[in-house]
């Protein structure tokens, strides 16, 4: 079907969202809670765009709005830019320590306000960590409490029995808000300490014991085969390819 984004006529597949259609055609719409691995969550509201259909004009979240034939989309209007600026200003209060948010705050030229800033905080509640944990299959963390009290945590903030210490949550976090303490021997995350496993090839600490057990259980591969780190695995594969190419 055909739709129009910022005066460009685009051919898109039915079923995709406005955001996906725009990205496929290289049109930028800002997002905070979207990740290409999961799709839209409709939470951060940075991706709000104006949509004109045959009978209405409205502001919608590009990451959840399914395309319809003939719609005309404006990814930026003065009102939308003002709204995005307010969202950044509001989020910055909770994450002034994050370089990511500091940059956004400057980029959006946020207005001065007399509001208190929560020094030391970084989380913007985009919930990418929660989605990542869900996708891995653990669901050890979630958004807890309600309203302005909402935050990310394990149930009752206790060490989670289902957490495998993979730190996917910390890796996906755009604001580096999830604390991970790591040595060669162990890793502490979400109030639980995990034993690190060393790569059988290079000796580097690369994963937790629970993580490897979990992968073994899911894939049926033997534990020993998994005790090689991703870099060494790549090297091994590269060597094989090289051999084959000769």
């Amino acid at each position: 079907m055909k739709i129009m984004i910022d005066q460009q006529v685009l051919e898109v597949n039915p079923g995709v969202t406005i955001l996906e259609a725009a990205r496929q055609h290289g049109i930028h719409i800002p997002t905070l809670c979207y990740h290409e691995a999961f799709g839209g969550q409709g939470m951060c509201r940075m991706c709000m765009v104006e949509v004109k259909t045959s009978h209405s004009r409205k502001v919608v979240a590009a990451c959840t709005y399914p395309v319809q034939s003939g719609i005309e989309v404006q990814t930026s209007t003065p009102e939308i830019e003002k709204g995005r600026r307010t969202i950044v200003a509001l989020l910055y209060r909770n994450a002034p320590d994050s370089g990511f948010m500091q940059k956004l705050y400057t980029d959006y030229d946020c207005p001065e306000n007399g509001l208190a800033v929560n020094n030391g905080e970084r989380c913007i509640l985009c919930r990418l960590c929660v989605r990542a944990c869900e996708e891995i299959g653990s669901s050890a963390i979630s958004a807890v409490l309600r309203g302005t009290e909402k935050r990310i945590g394990t149930p009752f903030d206790e060490a989670s029995a289902v957490c495998i210490g993979c730190a996917a949550c910390a890796n996906i976090c755009p604001t580096e808000a999830i604390a991970v303490e790591q040595t060669d021997q162990d890793r502490t995350i979400w109030n639980r300490t995990f034993t690190m496993v060393q790569c059988r090839s290079c000796g580097r600490s690369f994963a937790t014991r629970e993580q490897l057990d979990y992968i073994s259980q899911k894939t049926g591969l033997a534990g020993l085969d998994l005790e090689v780190c991703d870099l060494c695995r790549k090297k091994k594969l590269a060597a094989k390819i090289e051999q084959f190419a000769r």
Partner: protein
């Protein structure tokens, strides 16, 4: 089976057992009546009935005696013996228990002669206070389940949808979406399973419309839902009711059981092809679960958070199936629409808002309670004629409508007709029907702060504008109430409000700025006084208020000193009193008590 039409030599005593009256001891009155009547030698055959809420909670517990049409107010268990001996036995009135009209100073025999009831038009509340909610026979005796019988045996599902469309019924839960169109959209989707939901998650502070209907007339809700199920060919229904409404949960449970037994629910209802049953889902009391997508998430067992509604619930609702969700009051209107016909039902109301609306009238008004009036009735009629005016002869300042995310309408707009479109145009909304009356001793900045504080706790916290916006608004408004704040803060408050309106995920967030925007629209001077002069004109914000006694009007009666909780007021009898500012906690009680308006603020 209980007699509905009373024979000449028999009497019926109706004791209001709505939540308000129960709290004032109506259950004891009811039990005392039953006990004493059983043992009494009064030779009048009398039947006692515990009914749902009569709406006039201000004067409860209410006891009505028919066919004499006598209404007794504020009855206590100790009055029961006298009621039986005098009124039931000899037909004498007990003056002391009759309502005294404050205007004429006359005692009034029946509630039917009181302005509070005379101006009302009961449709959704038609049975409440008249029937025993736990008795299906009582409901049936007042044309109950007639409408269901009519649709099942004389109308096709499409005809029912058409009838509802023709009635012009709009959703009573807040949005005001045309009910018939919603049903039609649901039937337009191909599906083998469809659901019906009744939204009974009433959560606005000071609102109890839906609770009264579920408690006082549960069968009308059930009948409405079965009619809806027939129209959209649904197989299962859910009533989502907050668990705090224990009496509603209980009465609905009894009603569903009884309806099953009579064949109104279950397989092949009344011999037709319709098979449909209803389950009660008890909510945990989250305000946001009144939002339909959050409510459905909650029924599914997920966290009660809304989702974007670009695909409507009528297409993909509960468990991804087409779903019709309507509010309690909407369902309660349906049997009447079917029985009387769409035209008759739509003959009252305004062009765009047909029928009646139930309001819970609370705040600084003489007659607080539950009222049902035709759409388009003016605020003045509701407040001054039904409500009896403002308490303590004070001046009306504003009316807050639509619940926490509604807005404040100033006294100058009192002649505005109350309907969906007028309220929205005034920057407020119908919401589910809360009406909170505020007098001239209300600080509008503090009111905005109060509602924002409520919403900050009840927002689900999923989307940024609502969660962070409310947090910021609460901080700014709290600062204003302490005289801290600047024009830049005011600007940021407005920017945040606009962003929330435009960008929030659900209706809660999109309307959450209404308390701020509407008070800013009509009472901006008050905001500016707080910011620029560190002054609260209403004398409410403690940090900005100082009370003093003007010696001129002060008669030295000492009433203020008597009521001062911290003994900050001193003075000789019949001489002007003085407030010690060092002790005063600025509660304003002296000002409320003073009969001579001698307590001033600066």
């Amino acid at each position: 089976m209980m007699p509905q039409i009373i024979e000449a030599d028999k009497k019926m005593v109706l004791v209001c057992c709505g939540t308000g009256c129960l709290a004032n001891g109506s259950m004891e009155v009811y039990q005392e009546l039953q006990q004493q009547l059983a043992n009494s030698n009064v030779n009048v055959s009398t039947y006692t009935k515990a009914t749902g809420c009569n709406g006039w909670c201000e004067k409860g517990p209410l006891v009505k005696i028919i066919p004499d049409d006598i209404t007794y107010c504020q009855v206590a268990a100790k009055d029961v013996a006298e009621v039986i001996a005098k009124t039931i036995g000899k037909g004498e009135l007990i003056n002391r228990l009759l309502y005294r009209d404050p205007k004429t100073k006359q005692r009034v025999k029946s509630h039917h002669q009181i302005d509070f009831y005379k101006k009302q038009h009961k449709v959704a509340l038609r049975n409440i206070g008249e029937i025993d909610p736990a008795s299906i026979e009582d409901y049936i005796s007042r044309d109950g389940y007639q409408a269901l019988n009519k649709v099942l045996h004389t109308m096709g599902p499409g005809q029912v949808v058409e009838e509802v469309i023709r009635s012009g019924l709009r959703g009573r839960g807040g949005g005001g979406f045309p009910t018939g169109q919603k049903w039609k959209a649901c039937t337009d989707v191909e599906a083998s399973v469809r659901y019906i939901i009744c939204n009974g998650d009433e959560g606005d502070p000071g609102a109890f419309m839906d609770r009264s209907i579920m408690e006082g007339d549960p069968h009308t809700v059930i009948e409405g839902m079965i009619i809806g199920a027939y129209a959209v060919e649904a197989t299962a229904g859910f009533i989502y009711v907050r668990d705090e409404y224990s009496l509603a949960v209980k009465n609905l449970g009894i009603a569903i059981q009884d309806a099953r037994q009579k064949g109104f629910l279950g397989e092949n209802i009344l011999g037709s092809r319709l098979s449909f049953d209803i389950e009660i889902v008890r909510g945990g009391g989250a305000f946001v679960c009144g939002e339909e997508t959050a409510l459905m998430a909650s029924i599914e067992g997920n966290v009660g958070e809304p989702r974007d509604k670009y695909v409507y619930p009528t297409e993909k609702g509960l468990w991804g199936q087409p779903t019709v969700i309507n509010n309690v009051e909407t369902w309660a209107n349906l049997p009447v629409i079917i029985n009387d016909g769409a035209e008759a039902w739509a003959s009252i109301g305004t062009e765009g808002s047909k029928g009646t609306k139930v309001f819970s009238l609370v705040g600084k008004v003489i007659n607080t309670g539950l009222v049902e009036v035709p759409m388009g009735t003016t605020l003045r009629e509701i407040i001054y004629e039904i409500g009896g005016g403002i308490l303590n002869k004070r001046k009306l300042k504003a009316v807050q409508t639509g619940g926490p995310s509604g807005g404040c309408i100033p006294a100058e707009m009192l002649d505005m007709p109350v309907d969906f479109d007028s309220l929205t145009a005034a920057g407020s909304m119908m919401g589910s029907g809360g009406l909170i009356v505020m007098d001239d001793r209300t600080c509008m900045v503090e009111i905005a702060r109060y509602y924002v504080n409520f919403l900050a706790g009840e927002s689900c916290g999923k989307c940024t504008p609502c969660r962070e916006g409310l947090k910021a608004m609460l901080e700014i408004l709290s600062n204003f109430c302490q005289g801290k704040g600047s024009d830049a803060d005011l600007q940021f408050l407005m920017d945040t409000s606009e962003t929330m309106q435009m960008m929030s995920l659900c209706a809660l967030g999109r309307t959450a700025a209404n308390p701020v925007l509407s008070t800013l629209r009509y009472f901006k001077d008050e905001y500016l006084a707080h910011i620029h002069e560190q002054h609260c004109p209403a004398g409410v914000c403690r940090d900005l208020t100082e009370f003093y006694i003007d010696p001129e009007p002060c008669t030295g009666c000492g009433l203020c000193a008597q009521h001062c909780p911290v003994e900050a007021i001193s003075g000789e009898k019949k001489e002007a009193h003085v407030i010690d500012q060092a002790i005063c906690i600025r509660c304003g009680e002296c000002r409320n008590q003073c009969k001579f308006d001698a307590v001033m603020i600066r």
